[in-house]
Symmetry: C2
Subunit: 379 residues, 2 copies
Amino acid sequence: MISISDDRGAILEGLENASKKNDLIIITGGLGPTKDDITKNTLCEFFNTELVRNHTVFQMVEDFFKKRNKPFTKLNQDQALVPENCKVLLNYQGTAPAMWWERQGVIYVSLPGVPYEMKAILSEQVLPLLIKNKNLPEISHFTIFTHGIGESFLAEKIEHWEEKVKSSGFGLAYLPSPGMVKLRLSSYTLSMSQAETLFQNHFEELKNIIGNFIFGCRTDNSVLTMEKVVSELLLSNNKTLSVVESCTGGFISHLLTSIPGSSAYFRGSIVPYHNSYKTELLEVDLILLENYGAVSEECVTAMVQSSLKKFHSDFAIATSGIAGPTGGSDEKPVGMVWIAVASQEKIKAKKFLFGNDRIRNIQMASNSALNLLREFILE
Amino acid sequence: MISISDDRGAILEGLENASKKNDLIIITGGLGPTKDDITKNTLCEFFNTELVRNHTVFQMVEDFFKKRNKPFTKLNQDQALVPENCKVLLNYQGTAPAMWWERQGVIYVSLPGVPYEMKAILSEQVLPLLIKNKNLPEISHFTIFTHGIGESFLAEKIEHWEEKVKSSGFGLAYLPSPGMVKLRLSSYTLSMSQAETLFQNHFEELKNIIGNFIFGCRTDNSVLTMEKVVSELLLSNNKTLSVVESCTGGFISHLLTSIPGSSAYFRGSIVPYHNSYKTELLEVDLILLENYGAVSEECVTAMVQSSLKKFHSDFAIATSGIAGPTGGSDEKPVGMVWIAVASQEKIKAKKFLFGNDRIRNIQMASNSALNLLREFILE
């Protein structure tokens, strides 16, 4: 992947170099209505053509602004200008259409750079067209999602398994991100059905080695998140959840409510960020708070019980910790977080020690809280 | 910028091509302890050297795991192996040190790929070294942050200003992201003091044209967010804030609490995701809810008043809307969001109509809510 600037020379050079080595070139960005966006004009130069008005696009862009009560200005009318010799792919999310060319065995696709517009056109139009038109090789990806173990410790535990996996024809990648390490197995040589069968055997073996760290699996290259796994678990058990977040400050609620349909199981949350609201809104005993502090097993246990009561939910999560960069002490350093999960029958609380980075601590604590709930439900 | 795979040939080819055209090459990633990370070994090949143990790094990595109560395994000990002929830059956030070479007038820097480790080493060590060692050209960036106007409408409004800016020696880029368009002015020819003076004149003129859309400015290329602007406004006025979030599901609270020191002004929030808690926790009148629905001026006004009362805060924000993808109707389509802001003296409520994408609707509503509060405080 090459990133270049909005510069005519850089665009032309990039296209020429890429054409020499590739069958498919996907270009993103530079299709906006402002003067700094010159990709469309430069593509005309590259493909020796000129801009013409596309009537379907014109109609769509006009409707787009009408729906939003905005005027249909000259600059936006120009979004309907497309290179004459391209195939136009319509943009149902925004104003810049995508463009498709084939020349000397190479396919060129130019997509808008706005991520959600690009993703929609790519998945709904470009990929189906490629699958239809091309005799594509069989590439298989399988992804295993782990939580709670660093990549170096994981690698030592699965050293022999890794060797076996590789000798059976897969590549293995360790893909770490805050709160998880993904193991991606990729095959470029096996048939898809062969790869699938082999993978299932490898996966069963891996569960025997590190099963307690695995929270999910995908038989492709797609994304799985801890909040998605928890939401599926709640949905399939017909259970509800509420959250009380101190140090995570609303991030667990945000992760859960980012998922369409979360209102079916997510009841709500309270963020008692200032300590006085732990008492006022959640009725955490003032003497308890004074004796043990907000970052304590006692406080987080009281908070999770209050959450169950306030929201009448089947399960609840509570977090309290020191996100940093300041506020730590020798006894309770930055990165220390207490997390509790509970049902109407039982409670589990656990202390975690993360690092010095505020944003990372919030992410790690949220992910660990959701994982604690996942294990708690499965128990 | 070029992205390549963890492949020996691709790394060597990338380095050779880059060396031909650049004075500085920054490499990120591939320094982890697992077998798929081969950058360090490939760099040894490229620089004709071999790995030796660095005792300072060994000590630091040992301490890193001791502090976290983790064993110091063989794989992690190998993180202390560095190419013999490089200058080592220590990593205070993680285990993989950075490396620096100079050869035939080209500087090569290899950094770990974990974003917060990479950023720390780059800003604290690499950039200071570059500034010290090199006679660098004067490049000036200035960034103006707008909210509430699409880039095409902005471009039409400031057409003449844009021409003036360009003829005075600046480049202008429109950088849109959900809820904002950044205008970045860049000069590669003016001296920094010349550029600064010119920019201040341009900025004053721009305020006369689109002042009501500008929420901030930076005299460099750094990031400014709406939540940062709001937090500075609250801090400097010594005021507090609470939030009640329905459709934004905790995202406003997350944005605010991502900022270090936010506990000084952020009191807390309630996410009454299920409608019953709008009544139970916030005492929104059940008859009001039945008559007008949760997505209404009446409901969001009642919610914001309740927030002020519950948290005794100086200001409050409330949101209620249909994030999508389902749940819309003809009267209240997906993307419709009511937002209210209030102080103890007055209330302002406003209806917004965003798009079809759930995540984008949450982002746009959160950003718009914070901007509504910003305008409200400034009034």
